[in-house]
């Protein structure tokens, strides 16, 4: 008979060809691009308006000098930090009854004021609900303080010109490097998580076709069930590889094009702890490991479902499981020790994402060899378990052979 690997290759080849050469595969390829493009477009369109709309507006009901000083101070502070950090100020001509005017301004739905500033720089009054104390009150205090200081200096005839800071450029600062590497670790985890999340439904429903059109009987009579499961996993990995190559290629081209437009091709200033080349290889390997681990689990779960309705039912718990695993893996980004960190490294489903973060943060390579072996072992265990469960519950048969016999596995003994 064929070995499990040969048989898995036959299954994988058929699944890969059937998927990649189907019309729906084009949809599969362009869907994430459309989604990404749509998100960018929507973010671009809505961004500015949304940012302005979500910023509090404070009505300045004061004399023109106070208004001018407050606006000047606000602009200086916003320029030095960020425009988003300070409320918008809008001057309103004072009425006779200031209290009544403030009440009327706060009730004006169209203008949308969060608070009203009245009085002078020396006797400022902020009228508004208690909820605005943090986002508006503290900022207005900063603005008033700066305006008062500027006014006092002007009155005293003192000029305080800005002092240029002499810049001494060094290599990476440890703190900065750690921060950037943590960001890199988070991005790598997010990439693995995002792609796996997109493909999880495909994996869940992967055996439904064989069950619904009765091909499973033909397969089970010809090859070990382990080979069927492995073949399907490999095919899906290949299919995701085609997608990743296309999506990644387009993103990389876009990035380079943007860089060329900027007249310079700049590589990121920070490198992961293991270096870019080993990191790229490890990222790929951990993506594969994560895909194979979760894929084996989802394939096993999906194999128990008898129709698409059941698949849909288990989709939500599976998504929640993925999110949970992702959150667990994220714990290693900020810390290096502790029970939760170790658990994230060891727990098979969070381990690939945790280890890719490890590669971004730490130089040592040998733990990756250990981790990848650990992942391979678990893929073997899950596939074997899934195949046996399938045999028991779907085919209503016991499985012969020892669970952990590698020789038997190679020959397809127990599946």
């Amino acid at each position: 008979m064929m070995s499990v690997f040969d048989a898995a290759w036959v299954i994988a080849r058929r699944d890969f060809v059937a998927s990649v050469f189907s019309r729906s595969f084009i949809l599969f390829l362009i869907a994430p691009l459309l989604l990404f493009g749509f998100l960018l477009f929507a973010a671009g369109m809505a961004g500015e308006a949304e940012r302005d709309a979500s910023r509090p507006v404070v009505a300045l009901v004061a004399d023109s000098d106070t208004v001018a000083r407050l606006e000047g101070a606000r602009d200086e502070l916003a320029t030095a930090t960020s425009e988003q950090s300070f409320p918008l100020l809008r001057a309103v001509a004072p009425a006779e009854n200031l209290v009544a005017q403030a009440r009327w301004l706060l009730a004006d739905q169209e203008a949308g004021y969060s608070a009203v500033f009245t009085g002078t720089l020396d006797q400022p009054v902020l009228i508004g609900p208690a909820q605005v104390d943090f986002h508006v009150g503290t900022r207005i205090r900063l603005i008033v303080d700066r305006a008062r200081r500027t006014a006092a200096l002007e009155a005293a005839g003192v000029e305080v010109p800005p002092v240029p800071i002499r810049r001494i450029v060094t290599g990476q600062a440890a703190g900065n490097l750690q921060m950037l590497r943590r960001q890199l670790a988070g991005s790598a985890q997010g990439l693995i998580f995002g792609v796996s999340l997109m493909l999880s439904t495909l994996l869940l429903s992967n055996l439904v076709e064989e069950k619904s059109n009765k091909v499973i009987e033909v397969l089970a009579a010809a090859v070990p069930l382990d080979a069927v499961f492995f073949g399907k996993l490999i095919a899906m990995l290949g299919i995701s590889g085609v997608g990743l190559t296309l999506w990644g290629g387009m993103l990389a081209s876009g990035y380079l094009f943007w860089q060329v437009l900027a007249d310079w091709v700049a590589l990121p200033q920070v490198s992961p702890a293991v270096g870019w080349s080993p990191f790229a290889i490890l990222l790929l390997l951990y993506y594969c490991a994560n895909f194979m681990l979760l894929g084996a689990l989802f394939l096993g779960i999906g194999a128990q479902a008898s129709n698409i309705r059941e698949i849909q039912t288990v989709s939500m718990p599976v998504t929640l499981l993925q999110v949970g695993v992702f959150l667990l893996a994220m714990t290693v980004i900020g810390r290096d020790t502790g029970a939760l960190t170790w658990f994230a490294y060891i727990f098979p489903f969070s381990s690939p994402m945790a280890m890719v973060a490890h590669a971004a943060k730490h130089e040592t390579l040998w733990p990756h060899l250990l981790a990848l072996s650990w992942h391979a072992t678990w893929v073997f265990v899950i596939v074997r378990g899934s195949a046996r469960l399938f045999r028991r519950t779907v085919l209503k048969s016991s499985a012969d052979g020892a669970f952990f016999s590698l020789a038997a596995f190679r020959r397809g003994r127990a599946g």
């Binding site: 008979m1 064929m2 040969d6 048989a7 036959v10 058929r14 059937a18 189907s22 076709e209 064989e210 059109n213 009765k214 091909v215 499973i216 009987e217 033909v218 397969l219 089970a220 009579a221 010809a222 090859v223 070990p224 045999r391 085919l395 209503k396 048969s397 016991s398 499985a399 012969d400 020959r411 397809g412 003994r413």
Partner: protein, 316 residues
Amino acid sequence: MASVLAIEAQGLFKSFDGKPAVQGIDIAIPEGSIYGILGPNGAGKTTTLRMLLGIIEPDGGRRALLGHERPLDAARIVGYLPEERGLYPAMATREAIAFMGALRGLPLDVGRRRAEILLRENGLGDYVDKPIKSLSKGMAQTIQLFGTIVHKPKLVVLDEPFSGLDPINQGRLEHLIREEAAAGTTIIFSTHVIAHAERLCERIAIIVGGRIRFEGLVAEARDRLRPQVRLRTRQAEGSWHSALPADARPVEGVWEFELPGDGIEPLLKVLIAGGAGIEELSIERPGLHDAFVVIAGEAAAREMANGATERAGAAA
């Protein structure tokens, strides 16, 4: 591994959810023979075949397929057509056949070449690149059968191969089975339709309620019944009348009875001497259907006939 038996099973036992489906089945199928498994719905035919092929493991007993205790070890030289046909609808016919061969270790390019030959030789040359979903049910079934034999197996197992086929395709399938058997392939098939087994098989097993009621040559099954004698005489009464066997009964003017143990000659002498005036005398060997009724019982025979009618209706 040399063996004179293509399949050997002893004491196969299988139960589902505590209900026994197969209870101690013993089968010995010589290489090169056409072997039929007969039985009504739920008799345990499919379960037996699936255990023989290793799709499910028996709860008890042992089996060997072409000398291999593990059926998957013989997968390269076995072909299997399941009762519930299974094909990928979007696959082209040639690819489907080649894929089934590849599952049995046949290189894809060889499988494609053989598939094309099989399709053309059987008048399906125009369908080489057509997807399975565009074919009729009978055609799709034929494609799956080609997929079952494309790797030139030594043993072909067909589970209810005639079900769902119209008479023309049934005839084609019978022809194909004979051709394969003539080439030395062992064929084992299960069926509801006794006529197919009677026409094709040398040996049969009759399974009822998960147990084998008969296993042996078709001729041996038929020999369970004495040949039937039909006698029509010109004279209705006479001294010869008392010489008729005790089981003789008149049916529309014809006497019917089992051939006496001492043959027909003594009775003939009496009939001639008594002036019965023999108008018609025939000795008919009982058919497999009659043997089945005796072996499996009236109820099983009725159930089997009903099952066959239902399937024929479904095919129509």
